[in-house]
């Protein structure tokens, strides 16, 4: 793991991917250091998903600069190979059903990036990814098509796909939304394991960024918080800072204190 920031955004204007004239979040200044756990909170439609996609270099920013591991991933004369090299160091778990590939089964979905980047067969992947699949409790679903999975399991498959290449940075879009309590408990354990480092996840601590519509389930010590509210970006700080900012309208809404 290098000492360079995992994500560095300076004066970034997060814009709508289909309509770059529409600004979703203004002046994002954000540095994610290796090993940190950030929670980006915001209501639905506040631009969190696009922020994560912009940070991952998937959606061009309207202005400012975005660096991943010290490298620019948008604009300029970047080679496809170079961009791919940088992207392999991050994993992105999309919201909802995780944007799985419907023509592939669960195992093929998870193994695809591993096989592609190592030019390896599915048999090799089965051996190498065994501990990860066991950790994710996906063993009995490997032959299923994504369309037959419920949201909770589909999201876990998407997590497996993102973790398969052994990323240093994991971006999670609304990981806890729409899950039952058992799955929420599993995800909270996973987030702690990933943050501390776990043998099945490569052994080293992952840098984590989780976007969320609720603050409470993720409000634990050692985490850092940022807020996207009404098109503005605010760094809230630690868990204590969030709790002391309860009077703030945006924080209150995300803590559910308005009720």
């Amino acid at each position: 793991m290098s000492d360079l920031p995992s994500i560095e955004m300076q004066d970034v204007r997060v814009v709508h991917p289909r309509n770059p004239g529409v600004t979703l979040i203004e002046e994002v200044g954000w540095v994610v250091e290796p090993g940190e756990f950030w929670v980006v909170a915001g209501l639905q439609g506040s631009g969190k998903t696009v922020l994560l996609e912009t940070a991952a270099g998937l959606t061009p920013q309207g202005g400012g600069s975005v660096r991943l591991f010290g490298e620019e991933v948008q604009g300029g004369q970047r080679d496809v190979e170079e961009v791919s090299e940088v992207r392999r160091r991050l994993g992105l778990v999309f919201d909802g059903n995780g944007r799985l590939f419907p023509s592939l089964n669960v195992f093929e979905n998870i193994a695809l990036p591993w096989c592609y980047h190592r030019n390896a067969s599915l048999a090799d992947a089965a051996e190498a990814l065994g501990p990860l699949l066991e950790y994710l409790q996906l063993d009995r679903l490997l032959d299923q098509r994504p369309g037959r999975l419920g949201r909770a399991w589909a999201r876990r498959v998407a997590l497996g796909r993102a973790l398969a290449t052994g990323p240093e940075l994991l971006l999670l879009d609304n990981p806890l939304s729409g899950l039952d309590m058992a799955h929420i408990r599993w995800w909270r354990t996973f987030l702690s394991d990933a943050s501390r480092g776990h043998a099945a996840l490569g052994g080293r601590p992952l840098t984590l960024v989780a976007a969320s519509e609720e603050l409470r389930p993720l409000l634990l010590p050692g985490r850092r918080f940022a807020l996207a509210h009404n098109g503005r970006w605010r760094l809230l700080g630690s868990t204590e800072d969030v709790l002391s900012a309860r009077g703030d309208e945006g924080v209150r809404e995300l803590l559910g204190d308005n009720d």
Partner: protein
């Protein structure tokens, strides 16, 4: 009187121009983007063809199976029908008008050079191409392409290249299959109607009407049809951000553009034949 006519003509010209100019600009824009997409795909094919072969090769094989092997029954049926309708009746008719000596030339010029490649291409377009645009367009609309990019996988390499290569190989093979079946069925039909020639004499006559130039040109033409179909399909499915509502429209646009592009390529090859 003259000035009225001139005024009328100018306003007519303006009206027609105003109507067709946006369509013309749209067509030119599409053509430019399609050319750029083709160049990117060719660049990817050139630089990365052998890379990640354990993932890409099975995908090419899958595409050949989907757009080639699975179409053998329908192409076989078309071959049998064309054999009876075109080849069998041509043999019959030429015999009746005393021009049997030109049968081979007619079959080569009309069927082998024109009808067979176009038929194979259009069958692939209708049976697999439309489904592929819907599949790719839906994947684009649901963000699966961004998911590939997030995994560091180049969508051109993973989604486009196997399809273009698969379609190209499939159209070439299906054309040869269609030709053989059509000629075979045509001969059987004519034989049943009293043709005296042996199979060797009949096929020899057709082969005699072929020139050495036919082989490379037919390979290029049929391969060109497959590549064009693959590229236009992937362009409309992937190159632009789509919503689910736009997928249907993209599909009809793809079919129309594939047909026009194949016919233009066909016309270019007719010119090439005339020059040669």
């Amino acid at each position: 009187m003259e000035s009225i006519t001139t005024t009328f003509s100018r306003s007519e010209v303006r009206r027609v121009g105003a109507r067709f100019a946006p369509a013309l600009i749209d067509a030119l824009e599409t053509l430019t983007r399609l050319a750029a997409f083709t160049l990117i795909t060719l660049g990817t094919a050139w630089t990365r063809f052998g890379q990640n072969s354990r993932v890409i090769r099975p995908r090419i094989v899958d595409e050949i199976h989907r757009s080639g092997v699975r179409l053998l029954p329908i192409v076989g049926f078309l071959g049998a029908a064309l054999g009876v309708v075109f080849v069998g009746q041509t043999i019959d008719l030429m015999k009746q008008v005393g021009a049997s000596g030109f049968t081979g030339t007619l079959i080569v010029t009309v069927f082998i050079r024109e009808l067979a490649p176009l038929t194979a291409g259009l069958v692939v377009l209708a049976r697999v191409g439309t489904a592929t645009v819907i599949e790719l367009g839906t994947a684009r609309a649901l963000g699966e392409v961004e998911a590939l990019e997030a995994l560091g996988i180049d969508p051109i390499h993973y989604l486009v290249l196997p399809r273009v290569v698969g379609f190209t190989i499939s159209v070439i093979c299906l054309t040869v299959y269609l030709m053989l079946l059509t000629l075979g069925c045509g001969y059987l039909f004519a034989f049943a109607r009293g043709l005296k020639a042996t199979p060797g004499e009949f096929f020899g006559e057709v082969a005699g009407a072929l020139s050495w130039l036919d082989f490379p040109l037919l390979a290029m033409k049929t391969g060109g049809f497959g590549a064009i179909i693959g590229l236009v399909i992937c362009y409309h499915g992937l190159a632009r951000p789509l919503t689910l509502e736009e997928v249907g429209e993209a599909t009809t646009r793809t079919v129309a553009q594939c047909v026009v592009a194949c016919l233009l390529l066909d016309a270019a090859f007719i010119l090439l034949y005339l020059i040669a």
